[in-house]
Symmetry: C3
Subunit: 440 residues, 3 copies
């Protein structure tokens, strides 16, 4: 590998299963967007030439994320669906150089990517596919390997029991020449579902050697469902060390801070509160009196109010709480909850919590899971959100309600004389509550 | 002004727009009734001769309020409505001496009244009318002034855009001779709505010189609507300085007291609580564990219970709370709330909060306003009171209810098998809970 | 009394009025079962020969309770109802020795039993019946005494106003010879309701001298209704002295512990919490942050969660709470409540709280009484349980409900689109939450 590898970050797909959250790469994570984390990782790996594949919906936003010095990012917009379309999108930006294709909504450990690049350095004109070893059936592309250890075929979603191995492909694909891939995709890759994999299989059949680089399942995280944010946050938490508390942070009396924490500038923590790490608290956030904050990510400009409990949760920016229990929940940006509102995180029988995704009941694998709430949602006082429930962005939920099924985007749900009603929401959540912050 | 001025305090009107609170002058304010504050102010101004105009409903109560030494108060009862009727009520108590008529439900700053009396001293046989300069339309009596600066006419409720000035009359009327006023009212003042103003206009037309004494709008407060109590309290708070904590007050560990406070004798403040001034706490009140009390007036013999948040609110005497959020609210005497009950103080869209007054929707000018609750109300656990809602005295509200419209006096609202029902309340709120206090 | 007295503990009756709690003698009380307390008391009184009368439902459990060294316990199973049947059950285990029959679900003060045994020592061949002096009508057996101070007759449930005395028999019956009692019961005692008392009356008529041993009403406690647990706990509390805190107990910062407490090994008490004795906390219980625990019995392996208030209540083992108010309540084993759930303990009119027992409305004599909850109950978030309500074991109660009438065993009550529904519960409460404890 004499030539410099171009890294391709795929961010052109849809995120419908990520609802009620939207742009995965926009997610504020420990002080920056998820995309910014990718940029830093690539820079540290000296993969300084990057193509970012966007779509019509997210291009403007993704272009607004600052690119660190030393990194060169070209933006290309994907029009159709599928990884093959992504390849066609960057065709004109690339020649015969080697490329490494990564998924911008996946998290790859530093160790994995380092090992992958080491693998590339010692290989010749081979393709290398990143993969994980699974311990139960996974609906993905299994790698069938021959006696020499070379990949013979990607077998997409085999029947349960017919898997050719326990190794499943992730999106981390190295090609010694971009042209090789582009040509194959043009020829065989028109199917939006499996075209890309078909193209790789054809390349293998044509004699290109293909190897796997396998990473432990635990170190690969992917943002498919909204609750995936929780394990992604844990991944970032696992990199924390010690207590990094900005010198501007105001900590009042009778506050206890334990464990790993990052607390950014301008944060205030009021009396009687306990912080139990790992905890991240973003800029200018106000943690009120008599709170408990455990194992959670709290964004910037948040106000947690009085006697709030946030446990094992992700909170975006600009949220307002007041005497809430938020357990095992994922809360977007600019969300507010009234006093006494609770995100229940446990079924009465302690059983596994399922969630409806595009009409399909998905087992989440969790027996503790709270609410997932989109941006700009307002929730009144004394409302109860059942475990695994999702609330769409720009929706308003009134007081004293038991929310027992998902609420679409832009709805207004309220009790009127004890009867529960849902209509389209004609009001807008206030963008700024700066005036209220002054009185705190 | 050689002669001693007689001060007339008008308290003979109705207070229907003040519902669910009742007698304005009975309001406990920073340790005494509002009327007692008037008495002290008049005494300090050396206006030692006072006529208090009462009505049939409040005379007994008003007479029971102690008169400070040095002040002489005559009580006269008004029978009809309107300021003219008030004048006729005190006709026989007064001769040709100068009088200053003030409204007992208005708050006048010391500075304004001092300036007013100074004005009187330098004037001759002029009438002087107190007034404020407004910055938006106010449905009152505008003062039309001539080139010499004399008042030509009181123009009652001109059309919007037709105001003769930006100066609106308040009730602070000086007459060099009471007889002059009485005669004019007898002749021209029979109309209960505008008769009094007509009489003044006639006096001006007859050649009496009339001047205005103008006070900044901010220093004049009037108790028209119940939420007016909040700004009245702020006025009293603005006179506080330092921390006046009676030596008998018991303050347990891990309590933080910040800002201006007055804490009266016998108060106990339990562990983990924060007090953020300006705060007034009346005699023998018990502030429970893990409370936050901010910018609020708490009466005497109150028990706030565990983990209660009282913010920017007025609380009367003998109230009981327990794990409540009371924000921007006005709570009368002998009110109790069960654990988890919340006075919501913010609309989901952060918009201006309106309130129904005598069937009319009134914009309160506030985007933070909670509940207004009359005397002897009982509210169960986990109930939610919507912003701007009023609950009439002697009403009971059950558990788990969303109170979304005003509740009349003497009602019992409850959920029965999930159905909301309101009937007449046949029960009485207990007057004393002394026995319960023993167990605290 | 040369002969050693055999003590008979009656535990063969039904406990239907004790519902939703079940086996009275199984009740964990300050670290051991109620039966174990009886054993210790008898041992201390040197009554080392014990017959325990069981029934088919509780025999296995009662046999599992360890017998202290020095005590010999024989178990006999009663088949029919009534105290006469209990006597017949132990006929073959006993001869002509003296016996003292005690009720295993009653609490007798040490002083009373000491005095009773002293009485026995100075008596000859007399029967001695324990009794209390009542100050209002009690539906029991009144003792009619003759001029010599001997008991002439037990008058069962006389009409109000026709009571022969103010002395009512309790179950604490001494017979100088067991044979004497057995023969009388065989002859006259077949009626399950009053047969036993008839047999005693016949013995008196036949010339056996019968005396009373009277104890103050306050020192005799009986577990008839579930709320009786509260006064029984108070009795045990009255024996506490000082603060017995096991050396293994972890007490975090800003914790205040006042008054009499027993805190067992392995307990952790988190920051910002106050404990106000008398309080018992069983082994390995976790008292969370910002709690207040007052005058309560908390069993073993309980987790109280964040910002919970437990006041004047009894909590069994393995319960989980989170931001609850539990006042004047009796909570069985393995019960959990979601965040924001409240056991209301006071009527809106502060009136006496009644409770339905076997279809009959019983005045509890209390104006503060919360919920009574059976074993293995799960309650969701933000639910409100009205004063005096009982919830049967193995029932699930959903979120946001106002529970206003008793819930039978094994029911599932939930809100569906705002409508309250109750069905049979097909799910089981999880027995162990050890995994959750790890994350605390």
């Amino acid at each position: 590998m004499a030539q410099h590898i171009t890294a391709v970050l795929l961010s052109g797909g849809e995120s419908t299963r990520f609802w009620p959250l939207k742009e995965k790469n926009a997610l504020p994570l420990v002080g920056k967007s998820f995309l910014a984390w990718h940029y830093e990782q690539l820079l540290a790996l000296k993969l300084t030439n990057v193509i970012l594949v966007t779509n019509a919906g997210n291009e403007a936003f993704l272009k607004s994320i600052p690119v660190p010095a030393g990194l060169k990012v070209s933006y290309v917009m994907q029009t159709g669906l599928g990884q093959g379309q992504a390849v066609l999108a960057f065709e004109s930006n690339i020649g015969a150089e080697p490329i490494l294709i990564l998924n911008a909504s996946d998290y790859y450990s530093d160790a994995f990517l380092k090992s992958f690049i080491q693998h590339v350095k010692t290989s010749g004109q081979e393709m290398i596919l990143g993969a994980v070893r699974v311990n139960r059936y996974f609906p993905g592309g299994y790698l069938k390997t021959n006696a020499k250890g070379n990949i013979e075929e990607i077998v997409e979603k085999p029947q349960l029991g017919k898997e050719p191995s326990d190794v499943v492909r992730i999106v981390a694909d190295y090609f010694p020449s971009a042209t090789m891939l582009v040509e194959a995709v043009k020829k065989y890759g028109s199917d939006p579902v499996n075209g890309y994999e078909t193209a790789i299989n054809k390349l293998i059949q044509s004699g290109v050697v293909c190897k796997a680089e396998i990473t432990p399942l635990q170190t690969w995280k992917y943002l498919k469902y909204p609750w995936g944010v929780l394990s992604l946050v844990d991944e970032f938490f696992s990199h924390m060390s010690g207590q990094q508390i900005d010198k501007s942070v105001v900590i009042k009396e009778h506050v206890v801070i334990e464990g790993l924490v990052v607390i950014e500038e301008g944060v205030k923590i009021f009396e009687g509160t306990k912080i139990v790490g790992p905890v991240y608290i973003g800029k200018n956030t106000i943690i009120g009196n008599n709170n408990i904050i455990r194992h959670s990510h709290i964004g910037a400009y948040v106000v947690t109010g009085f006697s709030t409990d946030i446990t094992r949760s992700y909170i975006g920016d600009n949220c307002w709480f007041h005497t809430n229990y938020i357990g095992d929940s994922v809360i977007g940006n600019n969300v507010s909850m009234g006093s006494g509102t609770v995100c229940a995180n446990l079924r009465l029988d302690d059983g596994e919590i399922s969630s409806l995704v595009k009409g399909e009941k998905i087992d989440t694998g969790k027996n503790k899971l709270g609410a997932m709430v989109g941006d700009n949602v307002r929730i009144g006082v004394n409302t109860s959100i059942m475990p695994g429930i999702k609330i769409g962005q720009n929706s308003f939920i009134g007081a004293g309600i038991v929310v027992e099924s998902d609420v679409e985007d832009g709805k207004f749900m309220f009790l009127k004389n004890g009867t529960l009603t849902t209509v389209n929401n004609t009001k807008q959540a206030a963008v700024s509550r700066d005036e209220f912050r002054k009185t705190l």
